[in-house]
C-alpha cells in the first residue's frame, strides 16, 4: 500500500479516521461508500475499539461468553476489511495540526498525512476513581479487567471485589463470573437518592426497553450467583502494602471489611478529550454526565472546521449510538468535500438519526441513576489525585486556598498533571475540586492545556520527520 500526496492539493486522503471502534469503523466505511479515499488509523493491533476489542481474534468460546453485544463487532470488522478503507493498525496519532495534518507513529517511525476532512473517533476512558489506595498493584479499572479477559482470556486470581457504579460494572461482574473469577462482592457507591433523580426519565428510557431488560438480567444473574451486594457504600479505602489485601467501607451505617486480592474500580466512562484539548477545541462541561464534551454540530463537526468527533469521544451514548454518529460524521465530511449533495446527505442521514435517537433514549435515565457520588471528587487529604507525580488531594485544596484558580496554575505550582499520562488520570478530578473550592462552575475553572506529543515518542521516530525524503520513505515502508 502506498501513500501518495496529490501534488496539486497537498492532501494524502479525502478523509482520515482516527479510531477503529464502532464509531470509527462506521465512519470510515460510510465515507468510502461515497467514493472518498479513506484511511483509518488505530493504535490497537486490530479493529474493535474498546467494546469489540480483539473480536477478530478471540476464540469462539470466549466470544460466546462475552455475548451477542460483543459478537456484533465481528460483522463490522469483516465489512471494514471488504470496504476498501486503507487500515493502519499499531499506529498511534501523537499530533494533529490546525490544518488537520496528522502525525502518527507506527513501529517506531513517524509519518505525516493530510486529509481534507478528519474524523477523530477516539472514544472514551473510564472515569478516574481517586479513592485511598487506588494506586496499589492489584487495583485495576473494571474495564481494564474486561480488556484482559478479551485480549488474553485471563481473569484476576483470588478474591475479586468490584467497586463503583454503572452498567459496565454489572456487565464486567457477570462476564468475570462466567469466566471463572471469584467475585467476592459488588460494592456499589451509587447514592440511593439517585433513584429519585432517575425516575422522571424512566418513561422515555422504556421506549427502548432492551437496555432496561439487559440491566435487570445482569442484576438477577449476580443475585442468583449469590454475590454479596452492598449499596450506597462510602468512606472506601483500599488497604495493602505492596499490593491489595482488603477493602473497607461504610454501608447502611455499618463498617465492612472484605479481604481482597484484586479490586476493580468503575464510575462510568467519560470522553477522552486529549486530542480535542490539544487542538484547543471548544468544550462544554456536561453536568449530567459530569464530563467534558467537545462541542459538535449535527454532523459532529467541532469548533475546528473539517474536524469531526463522533462516538463516545463526543458524548457517552454507547456502541450502537456510536455507529450511527460515525456514519453521520462521514456524511458530513463527504458533503463538505462535494462527494454527496445536500439532498442525498439529508435523505441518507434520516435512518441514522432515527437510530441515534433510539439508542440515546435510555441515556438520561442511566446518567441520573448512575451519577457518581459527590464524595468521589472530595477525597480525603492523603488520597493521591495525580498518580504520576503523586500529588494528593490535600495539596490541591491547599493550592486552591493559596489562590490557584485553574488547573494550569495548580499544575505549575505542584506538578499535578505534569507526568507521563499528561493529566488523563487527574484532570477531571482537579477541575471539579477547584470548582468546589472556589464556588465556581467547572466550565469556568476549565481544564489542562495539552501539548504534543500525545504519547511519549522516541527521538528517532521524530527525527525521521525532519527530512521530507526520509519521512516519505518511512511512510512507504510503514504502510506497505
Amino acid at each position: 500500500m502506498n501513500i501518495s500526496t496529490d501534488p496539486g492539493s497537498g492532501f494524502t486522503h479525502d478523509v482520515i479516521v482516527i479510531g477503529g471502534g464502532p464509531a470509527g469503523m462506521s465512519a470510515a466505511m460510510t465515507a468510502a461508500e461515497y467514493g472518498c479515499k479513506v484511511a483509518l488509523l488505530d493504535e490497537q493491533p486490530r479493529p474493535g475499539g474498546q467494546i469489540y476489542r480483539n473480536v477478530t481474534r478471540a476464540p469462539a468460546a470466549l466470544r460466546e461468553l462475552l455475548g451477542p453485544d460483543y459478537q456484533r463487532g465481528s460483522g463490522l470488522a469483516e465489512r471494514l476489511q471488504r470496504s476498501g478503507v486503507e487500515c493502519h493498525f499499531d499506529t498511534t496519532v501523537w499530533d494533529v495540526g490546525q490544518d488537520l495534518t496528522v502525525t502518527a507513529q507506527c513501529h517506531g517511525r513517524s509519518t505525516q498525512l493530510r486529509p481534507r476532512q478528519l474524523i477523530a473517533a477516539t472514544g472514551a476512558m473510564e472515569r478516574p476513581s481517586p479513592i485511598p489506595g487506588w494506586t496499589l498493584p492489584g487495583v485495576l479499572n473494571a474495564g481494564a479487567a474486561q480488556i484482559l479477559l478479551k485480549s488474553s482470556g485471563t481473569v484476576p486470581s483470588g478474591a475479586t471485589v468490584l467497586v463503583g457504579g454503572g452498567p459496565l460494572l454489572l456487565l464486567v461482574a457477570c462476564q468475570l463470573l462466567d469466566a471463572g473469577a471469584r467475585v467476592a462482592a459488588l460494592v456499589q457507591t451509587t447514592p440511593t437518592s439517585n433513584l429519585l433523580r432517575a425516575l422522571p426519565h424512566l418513561g422515555r428510557a422504556s421506549l427502548t426497553p432492551s437496555y432496561l431488560a439487559k440491566g435487570a438480567g445482569l442484576l438477577q444473574k449476580l443475585k442468583r450467583a449469590g454475590v454479596p451486594f452492598y449499596r450506597d457504600a462510602r468512606e472506601i479505602r483500599i488497604e495493602g502494602e505492596s499490593g491489595v489485601s482488603a477493602l473497607t467501607f461504610r454501608a447502611g451505617g455499618t463498617c465492612v471489611s472484605i479481604a481482597a486480592d484484586a479490586v476493580l474500580l468503575h464510575h462510568g466512562v467519560v470522553p477522552n478529550t486529549q486530542l480535542a484539548r490539544l487542538l484547543r477545541l471548544e468544550h462544554r462541561w456536561d453536568d449530567t454526565q459530569l464530563a467534558w464534551q467537545p462541542c459538535v454540530d449535527a454532523w459532529f463537526e467541532t469548533s475546528l472546521p473539517g474536524l469531526r468527533i463522533p462516538g463516545d469521544g463526543a458524548s457517552i451514548a454507547g456502541a450502537l449510538a456510536a455507529e450511527a454518529s460515525g456514519a453521520l460524521a462521514a456524511l458530513g465530511a463527504a458533503a463538505a468535500i462535494g462527494r454527496v449533495d445536500c439532498s442525498t446527505q439529508e435523505r441518507e442521514a434520516r435512518a441514522w438519526r432515527k437510530l441515534l435517537r433510539k439508542h440515546s433514549r435510555v441515556r438520561r435515565f442511566l446518567d441520573e441513576l448512575y451519577r457518581p457520588p459527590e464524595w468521589l471528587v472530595a477525597p480525603p487529604d492523603e488520597t493521591i489525585v495525580c498518580r504520576c507525580e503523586e500529588v494528593d488531594a490535600g495539596t490541591i485544596r491547599h493550592m486552591a486556598i493559596l489562590g490557584c484558580q485553574g488547573p494550569n496554575q495548580t499544575k505549575f505550582f505542584s506538578r499535578c498533571g505534569m507526568g507521563p499520562c499528561q493529566g488523563r488520570q487527574c484532570a477531571i478530578t482537579v477541575s471539579q475540586m477547584l470548582a468546589r473550592a472556589h464556588f465556581k462552575s467547572v466550565q469556568e475553572v476549565g481544564s489542562y492545556r495539552i501539548r504534543p506529543p500525545l504519547k511519549p515518542i522516541p527521538l528517532g521516530s521524530i527525527a525521521a520527520l525532519a527530512s521530507p525524503s526520509v519521512s516519505r520513505s518511512a511512510c512507504k515502508e510503514e504502510f506497505e
Binding site: 493504535e43 494506586t135 484482559l148 488474553s152 485471563t154 499490593g243 499520562c421
Partner: protein
C-alpha cells in the same frame, strides 16, 4: 526475555497481560516516593505499565503485543525477581 531471563508466553496478547500472568506484580516504582505500581487501565491512558522494549524505554506494555524474541526490561529497578524465574 524479561530482564535477561527467558520467559515463554503465548504470542498475540498484550505484553502487560503476559507479564502479569508470568507473575510480575510490580512494573515500576514512583520517582517521588518509590511506591510500587502496576497496570491500571490496560488501554493506554494511565502510563503505569511503561517498560523498556528492545532498548527503547517508556513503551506502554498494555498497548504492545508479545512478539517472539522481544527483550523487555522493567524500568526504575522495580523488577520483581520472583517473576523472572
Amino acid at each position: 526475555m524479561l530482564d535477561g531471563d527467558p520467559l515463554r508466553v503465548e504470542a498475540g496478547q498484550p505484553l502487560a497481560a503476559a507479564l502479569m500472568k508470568a507473575g510480575l506484580s510490580v512494573f515500576r516504582r514512583t520517582p517521588v516516593s518509590g511506591a510500587p505500581r502496576a497496570p491500571f487501565c490496560m488501554m493506554g491512558v494511565c502510563f503505569e505499565c511503561l517498560v523498556e522494549i528492545d532498548g527503547v524505554p517508556n513503551q506502554q506494555s498494555c498497548m504492545v503485543e508479545v512478539r517472539e524474541g522481544m527483550r523487555v526490561r522493567v524500568q526504575d529497578g522495580a523488577r520483581n525477581l520472583e517473576a523472572t524465574r
